[in-house]
């Protein structure tokens, strides 16, 4: 079945059609097909799918939230402005300041936008109707990585010069022969490993989380029957709840890690860390 309905509805629908344990039909295991979506409409070869819609909704949520919170700011904050200030100060004190200090405050808009955009895209996984983390499609993660990496390189070259930036990758005081030995390691880490893991970490966590949640939700319905299956279903349901709670933390943690690493990258570009 294609992805025009959510995995949960798909599982429930199939199992609801008599596909339960001991009824002779196999478990409708979720898989990659649950991450593929039938386009709502197409323009040429380009299809407008559910993840695209959710990414736009996530962007709108962030824009509207901060616009409403700060459209007429008061000295003594009330209502939405309070929430907005808590959100901004949270990112400033927990992500920006620890890496960049006060001199990095000019990067606050970037980090706040990045954090909340990623967080809302992640948390779509847990919201009924949406029920899909946009970041579990890696195509939505790479542009964010490119933006961060482009900025990282640009600031590094701007502040330290192209040669100085490359030279500062290896700490001073290393003997020349060792320096030569370390160059391939540093280049590969900097240009391949670091951007690759920045993207894959976010994608992998959200992909695996969504798959786990789908498996246990579908399994609960599949195992439900007037037999010992009821006991299995209860176990699966408990695990689904456990994964759900775990995912509420993972969605936040992954947004936090991505933004914290962005802040440390910017910090290392602004000045040599050694």
């Amino acid at each position: 079945m294609t992805g025009d309905v959510t995995a949960l509805v798909r599982g429930a629908g199939e199992a609801g059609g008599g596909c339960h344990i001991f009824s002779g039909c196999g478990f409708p295991a979720p898989g990659l097909q649950d991450f593929e979506w039938k386009p709502f409409f197409t323009i040429g070869s380009w299809g407008f799918t559910k993840p695209i819609l959710l990414a736009i909704v996530a962007a709108l949520v962030v824009i509207v939230f901060f616009w409403v919170a700060f459209r007429s700011p008061k000295l003594v904050p009330r209502g939405m402005q309070n929430l907005g200030e808590i959100a901004i100060l949270g990112v400033r004190d927990q992500i920006l300041r620890p890496s960049l200090g006060r001199k990095g405050d000019s990067y606050l808009p970037l980090l706040v936008s990045l954090f909340f955009f990623i967080y809302i895209m992640n948390v779509m996984e847990l919201i009924p109707i949406f029920q899909f983390p946009v970041t579990s499609r890696i195509g939505f993660v790479w542009p964010l990585v490119f933006i961060v990496y482009f900025l990282y390189l640009y600031l590094g070259v701007k502040n330290q010069g192209a040669w100085g930036y490359l030279k500062n990758m290896i700490p001073p005081g290393v003997p020349a022969p060792i320096y030569v030995i370390l160059v391939p390691v540093e280049l590969l880490r900097f240009f391949v490993f670091q951007p690759f893991t920045l993207g894959v970490r976010l994608f992998g966590n959200m992909f695996a989380g969504h798959l786990l949640l789908t498996i246990f939700t579908i399994a609960t319905w599949y195992l439900l029957s007037a037999s010992v299956g009821l006991l299995y279903a209860a176990g699966s349901f408990a695990l689904a709840i456990f994964v759900f709670v775990l995912e509420t933390l993972v969605t936040l943690l992954q947004a936090f890690i991505f933004t914290t690493l962005t802040a440390t990258y910017i910090a290392s570009s602004l000045e040599a860390s050694h």
């Binding site: 620890p98 914290t260 802040a263």
Partner: protein, 89 residues
């Protein structure tokens, strides 16, 4: 509380700083381990292809791993200890 600039650093700020630093160092260390193996594995494979010795790929990977471990000990052990002693952090 310790001093930072003109103002004292709270425990909460120090914890946040340590968390950011720990996250950065953690990923840097794993980055060095994998990049070392890949970089020297690739070099070993290229040389091995030229001289028809397939054993140079695993040898290169082990050499890369050894270089990475040595570098990690130097950068995050020896150098950090020096910085702590001189107070240059």
């Amino acid at each position: 509380m310790t001093e930072k600039g003109n103002r004292p650093v709270t425990k909460r700020e120090a914890a946040a700083e340590n968390r950011a630093k720990g996250l950065d160092i953690g990923w840097m260390v794993s980055g060095y381990l994998i990049s070392g193996m890949l970089a020297y594995g690739l070099i070993g494979w290229l040389i091995g292809r030229a001289v028809h010795v397939s054993l140079l790929l695993p040898v290169g990977m082990l050499v890369g791993l050894a270089i990475s471990i040595g570098y990690i000990i130097y950068r995050f052990g020896v150098q950090e200890a020096k910085k702590e002693m001189t107070g240059d952090r």
